[in-house]
Amino acid sequence: MSRNKSAAAKPAVMSGGKPLGRRIKDNWQLYLMLLVPVVLTIIYKYIPMYGIQIAFRDYKASKGFMGSEWVGLEWFLRFFSAPTFWRMMKNTILLSLYSLLWGFPIPIILALMMNQMRFHRFKRITQTVLYAPHFISTMVICGMIRIFLSPSGGLINLIAGTSIDFLTESSAFRTIYIASGIWQDAGWGIIVYMATLANVDTSLYEAAKVDGASLFQRIIHIDIPELAPIMVLNLIMSVGGLMNVGFEKVWLLQTDLNKAASDVIAVYVYQQGIERAKYSYSTAVGLFNTVINIILLIAVNKAAKRISEDTSFI
């Protein structure tokens, strides 16, 4: 609706003064191209969004999204009073927060280092190897973790000369999750920083060298300010996804004995929704998670704006 208005407001600028109807007609093939992607998106993205309302209903397959009985906040209240509610909240937040704390700075440091590397062949090889773990399935990664941490004949225990069953220790779970996450994705995370640094005007480095700036000073005064906007953007996106602890890895590394640290909301949504077919309840839990994410995203966005107004750093 509004698109027609805005397009009609300035037709002369846009396409040689042809009227809107004519321009739509001229482009019919382009609309036809969009048809299938748009229909798929409506069916599999927008209809499920519409289906979120079952979080407030008692969903029965025979009655559909709209016809099922309205129960208000019942499912949410049930979730808040679940015996493991606080444990899941705590685990979800801690797992994310620690991942962010370690996972955010490491790619930046790696990118700054790689950017200084002047042996191009070596740099390329290092980059290739750093990207590799990103291309491996979570299933395989978790299989490797299990093999390496095995109490009998596992690499870690062989090196340390111990026989600890790490995956049964809830105190070790976060470390395992975060360390393996960094191993898998820190290398891939450098791409966007490397691409930004590649655009830095090399004359800046030359000028800084002439002025006697050390390598460290050049990084602090040229590279980091260059990366700052993208760093802030990444940080905002990560905080906005703080409640999105990936289901896959936690579920594959979970054992009955490490649940005190590995019980997270995402796994609960899956178990309740898919395994036990409690559709409405699971949707409510998922929606609760999404709402917290949106609140965090808005809050951190506002904070970032305030910081960028107050300081010249960003």
Binding site: R3, N27, M33, P37, G143
Partner: protein, 302 residues
């Protein structure tokens, strides 16, 4: 080099010594990332008892291909491998076609409604229905146990869509498209004859991204394809790697008791990891040089 060290002397740390420190640091990082994969590789061709005894830190011990032989003798794994290839090939073709069909119209500046359609797609990147409502829609559309459940719901990958659209906008010369228009070529002809051939680099990246996504996926299959003979390789490997049990077919083919079975299971773990990881590890270096370009194009406008 000489010139560098001279100017470096003024600044305390010489260029040469900082180069050396960098190379050492990068080598350490390189080893940390590569060693776990290397260890699995050598363990997969070693005698499992030696792996257990810690004799395979650097080189294989008592070289053997028995692990690979038993992987390729296991009908369950073979079926998983076949399914994975099937899903990866069909899914990649489907996804890349969808991506191109959606990205080109969105890159045509004077298309009425262009902005509306862009927002229409981008919203789905930030907000979704969640696991259960999506599952219910897939179920209602009759896709349970159909491989199309893997392709249709995620068919339009919006992050990639933005990257491709920006590539079309920035890297295809406007003059060529205008010239085609003046010659009276239809929009479709322009797309097929000019845009598609000129975007091979980004297409290569998208093909690799799609292949990796489909090859590595197991969660979508676990939810939507409950039938065991439809499981892709990673899901088959779940029994071996995570649940730590040999498949039924394995148990029946191996004679020689529990210890032998256990030994085979351990060997299969290592070799199946290599088989599952290797295809994608071979492919991505071919398009690596386009990654940075692609990400930059995608980062320009969100």
């Amino acid at each position: 080099m000489g010139k560098n060290t001279k100017s470096g002397k003024l600044t305390g740390l010489s260029e040469k010594s900082s180069d050396i420190i960098l190379v050492i640091l990068c080598t350490i990082i390189l080893l940390i990332v590569a060693y776990p994969l290397y260890y699995v590789l050598i363990a997969s061709v070693s005698n499992p008892y030696d792996v257990y005894a810690g004799k395979t830190f650097l080189l294989p011990s008592q070289f053997t291909l028995d692990g690979y032989k038993s992987v390729f003798a296991d009908p369950g794994i073979l079926l998983g491998l076949f399914n994975s290839f099937k899903y990866t090939i069909i899914g990649t073709v489907f996804s890349v076609v969808m991506l191109y069909l959606a990205a080109y119209p969105l890159s045509v500046k004077d298309l009425p409604g262009r902005k509306f359609f862009s927002i229409f797609f981008i919203i789905t990147m930030y907000f979704g229905g969640g696991m259960v409502p999506t599952y219910l829609v897939v179920k209602e559309t009759g896709l349970i146990n159909s491989m199309w459940a893997l392709f249709l719901p995620g068919g339009v990958a919006v992050g990639n869509l933005i990257i491709v659209r920006n590539f079309f906008e920035n890297s295809i010369p406007k003059e060529m498209i205008e010239a085609a228009n003046i010659d009276g070529a239809s929009k479709w002809t322009t797309f097929i004859k000019i845009v598609v051939p000129l975007s091979r680099s980004i297409m290569a990246v998208m093909v690799v991204f799609s292949m990796v996504a489909y090859w590595n996926d197991w969660f979508t299959s676990m939810i939507y394809l409950p039938s065991p003979n439809k499981a892709p390789l990673p899901l088959v490997l779940r029994n071996i790697l995570i649940k730590s049990s040999a498949s039924a077919s394995q148990a029946s083919t191996i004679s020689g008791g529990f210890a032998e079975l256990n030994k085979m299971t351990e060997m299969i773990k290592f070799s199946s990891i290599i088989i599952a990881a290797l295809p994608m590890l071979i492919i991505y270096p071919f398009v690596q040089k386009y990654f940075e370009k692609g990400f930059m194009a995608g980062a320009v406008k969100g």
